[in-house]
């Protein structure tokens, strides 16, 4: 019976007399309690009465068999009045008022709350190596009131523990036996352990047993962990130091292993150091030695022929003398002499090809070419000195090509650069013919080269520029300051020339410079080039170029043959020399 009361906007539910609970401890007896509630006038004993009814056979209501004297408001049902598996209904009545205040129905097995287990104790299982944790085994005995031996009640237990004075209890799983182990407890901490039980397959737990205190004092471990940590730290540091030392000592090897060097590009046969530091001639030799750079000019230039002049005996004599003269003249290096600069071929030592001695070249060697007042044999005059003569010669040059030499473009056999070999007192630069390295590409270069190549040796009449102009048939005469400065390293001089056979017969104007016996040789194509006396062969002929049979080292050797020199400046030969030369 409930009574709702409003006090200060709060609802208080006040209850009248009601049952507060019924419990059975061992499934053989049970008790029920009630309360009078707010009805204080019903608190005296006997005012409220309990009636029960077992619903087996619809028996009538019976009053409580035993009102407990010691406990207030308790009704006790002993064994005889307790029936298991039977529904009970109890009522709280006020007999005087004939009011039933409360009623409840139940079956006894559902109100069983077993007594707490007894004999709770613990034993130490083990302590951890660190001494910080320990395990215990907790034991207990079933409540004596429960008949577990016969099996009338099959109990399951639940152990709970907590750190002392803590509010949270740790709960372990249900245990059907009478012992359980607790793991992972901390030393130096006090634990409370308690246990309770319930009937298996039922939900009502009994009361907790009394708590026991579990405590294990921490044993100060004799071996401390401090040295172990220190040893570990030192060991690691030592290993690290060793590693660093190893790396630094073997740095090079490690670098090779981990970062292998990338091979630099290499060209077969060429030393990169030489490329960096070598001289130009070495480089030239190197590059020329590569097969790929060596065009087969010899086969491509059919017109390249090497003229060999056979000398008769007297010619030989003369020739030898002539040769000696030539050589001697060249060696003296004095004025008005053909200056065979053997060292002019700096950079083209291997590139000496037998150049075809142009008649013009030979002619130019003849003395009689006066008009040069320079002392220096290598001086070349400006073209302006003898302009008119050059004009004449030019025309003549063009008309008379050398027979032996087919008319070829002049640029084929030209050098494209010259090397400064000496300086004139006047301040001019004397050039030596450079290496015939490249194929004829630039006409202008060739022109210059051709012009440069002439070397005014003697102080005789010298028409280097004229001859240059004449030589370069396709090239318009363009006198330049540098034209006159040419070196004339070689002269396609052969013995025959001095004998009077001139390959160069340029013009009538030149004929006075030529030997009278000189037949008008066909004028070589106006190619200004030069040659260097290489050697004297067995036939006592001056080989101006290496013969075609010899492997030409210089790829441009064909170009190096003597261009047709229509008119050789007569200044190359002194009259004395000429006199010697003439038979």
């Amino acid at each position: 019976m409930y009574l709702s009361v409003y006090v200060n906007n709060n609802i208080y539910k006040l209850r009248g007399p009601h049952f507060t609970g019924c419990r059975s401890r061992e499934q053989e007896t049970f008790r029920c309690w009630w309360s009078a509630g707010i009805f204080q006038n019903l608190t005296e004993p006997g005012a409220l009465r309990v009636f029960y009814q077992t619903k087996n056979f619809l028996s009538e209501w019976q009053e409580c068999p035993d009102y407990t004297r010691t406990v207030k408001n308790e009704c006790y049902f002993n064994k005889t009045f307790t029936q298991i598996w039977t529904s009970y209904c109890i009522q709280l009545r006020s007999v005087r008022e004939n009011i039933t205040y409360d009623e409840a129905c139940f079956t006894v097995e559902n109100i069983v709350h077993p007594d707490p287990p007894i004999g709770l104790n613990w034993t130490l299982l083990n302590v951890s190596r660190s001494g910080l944790h320990f395990d215990v085994l907790v034991r207990w005995a079933p409540p004596p009131s429960a008949d577990v031996q016969m099996g009338w009640m099959s109990l399951v237990y639940q152990v709970q523990y907590r750190v002392r004075n803590n509010s949270h209890w740790e709960m372990l799983d249900l245990e059907s036996g009478t012992q359980q182990s607790i793991y992972g407890l901390h030393t130096d901490k006090e634990y409370e352990v308690r246990v309770r039980c319930k009937m298996s397959a039922f939900d009502n737990f009994g009361e907790f047993s009394d708590s026991i205190i579990v405590h294990v004092a921490q044993i100060p471990s004799k071996e401390s962990t401090f040295p172990t940590t220190l040893v570990l730290i030192f060991g690691v540091i030592g290993v690290v130091i060793l590693l660093v030392l190893l790396i630094f000592s073997q740095q090079q090897r490690l670098m090779v292993i981990f970062l292998p060097p990338i091979p630099a590009p290499k060209i077969k046969g060429i030393d990169p150091e030489l490329l960096k530091n070598g001289k130009l001639d070495q480089l030239n030799s190197l590059l020329s030695s590569q097969d790929m750079y060596k065009p087969d000019f010899y086969h491509e230039d059919p017109w390249v022929e090497f003229i060999q002049l056979d000398l008769d005996d007297p010619a030989e004599k003369n020739e030898s003398s002539d040769t000696q003269h030539l050589l001697g003249v060249s060696r003296s290096g004095s004025s008005h002499v053909l200056n065979f600069k053997s060292d002019d071929d700096s950079g083209r030592a291997s590139c000496y090809d037998p150049e075809i001695p142009n008649p013009e070249d030979l002619a130019s060697l003849l003395p009689g070419h006066s008009g040069r007042g320079d002392n220096h044999p290598l001086v070349s005059r400006s073209s302006s000195s003898i302009p008119d003569l050059g004009v004449q010669q030019t025309s003549e040059v063009e008309e008379t090509p050398i027979q032996t030499q087919p008319a070829v473009p002049s640029w084929v056999n030209m050098d494209f650069y010259a090397q400064v070999s000496d300086f004139t007192p006047a301040g001019g630069v004397v050039l030596s013919p450079g290496q015939l390295n490249s194929c004829p590409e630039k006409k202008k270069e060739e022109e210059n080269e051709k012009k440069i190549q002439f070397q005014l040796v003697s102080d005789g009449a010298y028409t280097s520029e004229n001859t240059a102009r004449q030589l370069s048939a396709s090239v318009p005469p363009s006198p330049g300051p540098e034209q006159g400065y040419q070196t004339f390293p070689t002269q396609a001089v052969e013995g025959n020339l001095w004998n009077g056979e001139y390959l160069v017969s340029t013009s009538d104007s030149q004929t006075p410079y030529l030997l009278p016996e000189a037949p008008p040789a066909p004028i070589l194509p106006p190619v200004s080039d030069y040659t260097v006396v290489q050697e004297v062969d067995a036939q006592h002929s001056l080989l101006l170029n290496p013969p075609s049979s010899q492997p030409a080292i210089c790829p441009h050797s064909p170009n190096k043959h003597l261009p047709a020199m229509p008119t050789m400046p007569m200044g190359y030969l002194t009259p004395d020399l000429l006199g010697n030369l003439t038979p």
């Binding site: 064994k79 529904s87 209904c89 097995e109 008949d147 031996q149 099996g151």
Partner: protein
């Protein structure tokens, strides 16, 4: 710098040898397992003669097995009943249980420990068997109705099915125990076999077929009875300490 561990041919040899060895080991193991007589699973001979070479379970063992079985059965019934109560009867009075009349109420069963102890062994055994027999069909019906209804998940219906099977098994076991007891002379011949005609249909007092909840409630009670009766019986048949 070549990083290969071995030349191709050498590696091939290694792998081949490894594979062959593994295969040989596997073959050996299989042979051992197959040829080992002890590992072969063979059926034990039927123990026609008691103690000769065959382990015959004693009565105590039989009782233990049966009791364990009944405990499991009761636990299952309790779980199912709790589920029903949770979903279908939210307002549960702690001490108030509505009276239900079960179909097995007509079977006279001792309602207390002392009453059960006072009962004769044969009668106790008979009561047990009666109870188990009475629940064979109702449990089957319970499973059928639970499987058809969509309120229950398959877990619950499986539990009901298992419960029915367990009851069947338990009955068989108890019959064996009774047979054994009879053989041993512990039971008289007054135990009468249960006639199939005595099977009762679960009908509530109102005449309708009992609902699932009522069935579960009744079965939970009866399984508890069976469990306790078996324990009492065992204690009485096999003299143990303080039984």
């Amino acid at each position: 710098m070549s990083l290969t561990l071995c030349s191709p041919t050498l590696c091939l040899y290694f792998s081949l040898s490894l594979g062959l060895s593994l295969w040989a080991v596997a073959v050996l193991l299989v042979a051992l397992l197959c040829l080992d007589p002890h590992s072969r699973v063979s059926s034990a001979p039927i123990c026609t003669h008691g103690p000769s070479g065959c382990h015959v379970p004693s009565l105590a063992d039989l009782f233990d097995r049966v009791i364990q079985h009944s405990a499991r059965m009761h636990s299952l019934s309790n779980d199912l009943h709790s589920e029903f109560e949770q979903y279908f009867l939210p307002s549960k009075n702690s001490i108030g249980k509505i009276y239900r009349k079960c179909h097995t109420s007509s079977i006279l069963t001792p309602n207390g420990k002392e009453n059960a102890q006072k009962l004769a062994r044969e009668e106790l055994t008979e009561v047990i068997l009666k109870l188990l027999m009475a629940w064979r069909d109702p449990l089957f019906q319970l499973h059928q109705s639970m499987a058809h209804q969509q309120d229950f998940n398959s877990f619950s219906s499986n539990k009901a099915l298992e419960m029915g099977d367990m009851t069947h098994e338990l009955r068989k076991g108890v019959e064996k125990v009774a047979e054994k007891m009879r053989v041993l002379g512990m039971l008289g011949n007054s135990v009468t076999g249960l006639s199939p005609a005595e099977t009762m249909l679960p009908i509530s007092d109102s005449g309708e077929a009992m609902s699932n909840y009522e069935l579960l409630y009744c079965f939970r009670r009866d399984s508890n009875k069976v469990q306790n009766y078996l324990k009492i019986l065992k204690c009485r048949i096999i003299p143990e300490h303080d039984c």
